[in-house]
Amino acid sequence: MMTVAVIAITLSLPSGLLVSINNLHSLSGQIDLNNNISLFLKNNVTLGEADALAESLQADSKIHHALLINKQQALDEFRQYSGFGSAISSLGKNPLPHVIQITPSETFNNPMALESLVNELKQRQNIQLVQMDMGWLERLNGILSIAQRGVSLITILLGFAVLLIVSNTIRLELQNRRDEIDITRLVGATRSFIMRPFIYSGFWYGLLGGIFACLLVNLSVLLIDGPTSSLASLYNSSFSLQLMPLSHALLWILFSILLGIVGSWVVVSRYLSELES
């Protein structure tokens, strides 16, 4: 039972991390990216041309909404909010370009698609600059893929740990049942007959350890979900944590069973080989 607990705790670390990463992924996908793309038009573009461009963009299926902010409006706004009112008045000429603000349609709300949209917009005439701050999103995704790599490494390391835990437990069992093994060998037991009960133990350790690991992770998710949701609601988001998907849970349990079986198999077959030599 101790062994099962140790396996469960050991495996809950990588599987828990993986669940966290998956949640962060879905969070980064859910964020309304504030991804209003700003198109700064060239200075010589007239209001009529800008209007026409905004309308043609509005017709594009990739674009949910295109809003023209003409240079006069922009200047007025700037004068009002910046506090540079008198300085701007002294300029005589409006230095601001027309700007079209674009909200991409829902289906394009992911970093890859957005980037291709941006590139496409850059090709258009009359557009001086396409600006969108998606650097932080790329950075987040970069961090997440590093974290994923890290989890893979941790999984391998802790997998070895589980292997050792199972081996050690089986070794103790072997020692406790040494006489029994000797006697069954003497009356003609085959290797597989002797190994079978130990392989079964390994299987059960793996199965129970895997199940408890998944329970531990999901329990933790449920415990954290409440505070997370209330935090998210402060940002007007309906984000809530997702539990480990069933397919992942099954894979973890399978992985754990495999470790249990391999761990016991290695120890018992080595023990028997020593006896036979």
Binding site: V187, A189, E276
Partner: protein
């Protein structure tokens, strides 16, 4: 049944446990193996049970050179031999029934057949009615009889006994030897290692005597 041809066994370090031993046991024969401690009795029995392998020579059991068979086949060779030990080698956390049933479980008999054969075997050694007892609750003689019941339960063609009466008083010893004679009478080949010379002489069977690893006497 059993044939040894120029068998030698040398352990690591150069000690010769057996030197050029040859003899043959016919089907249904009963014989004693005797000699002082360290004469090589145990080594000889271990070679026959394939617990160890000879350095030279052939150990033929049932026309099979068991000294050279692969490890995978060793269990099947062992099933042809019912082995009995001085210290009984019983499973003390299992009942008498389970102890005797062990060879049958290993050989994969079904439950009904196991029950039938275990009862028959216990009946033969006079322990019927004690199936559910634990070995530790029985006397030394009775424990040895559990060992014998286990050795014969799958009806092997040969019985190998290592000092089966070593810890028993003369009366019990005679009883145990009587059991071996009974098995021998139904055709089982029996080889008993013992240093109880007076008992051996009284019984008057063929005697193989080992001394310092050599077969010095082979009286029929």
């Amino acid at each position: 049944m059993l044939q040894l041809l120029n068998v030698s066994k040398r352990y690591h370090g150069g000690a010769d446990a057996l030197k050029n031993v040859s003899f043959e046991l016919q089907n249904g024969e009963m014989a004693f193996l005797t000699g002082h401690s360290g004469a090589g009795k145990s080594t000889l029995l271990k070679l026959i049970a394939v617990l160890e392998r000879s350095t030279q020579g052939q150990v033929m059991l049932d026309n099979q050179n068991i000294g050279r068979i692969s490890q995978r086949l060793v269990p099947y060779a062992r099933r042809k031999i019912g082995m009995i030990f001085q210290d009984h080698r019983l499973l003390h956390d299992h009942t008498v029934f389970d102890n005797v049933a062990l060879p049958l479980i290993i050989a994969g008999f079904d439950r009904h057949e196991i029950k039938r054969r275990v009862r028959a075997s216990l009946d033969k050694v006079g322990l019927l009615g004690k199936e559910q007892r634990y070995p530790i609750t029985l006397s030394g003689g009775e424990q040895q009889r559990i060992g014998i019941a286990r050795a014969v339960v799958n009806r092997p063609p040969m019985i190998l006994a290592d000092e089966p009466t070593g810890n028993l008083d003369p009366e019990l010893s005679a009883e145990i030897m009587g059991l071996f004679e009974q098995f021998n009478q139904v055709g089982v080949t029996v080889l008993i290692a013992s240093h109880d010379i007076s008992l051996i002489q009284r019984m008057g069977y063929r005697t193989l005597e080992l001394s310092q690893g050599e077969l010095v006497n082979n009286r029929g």
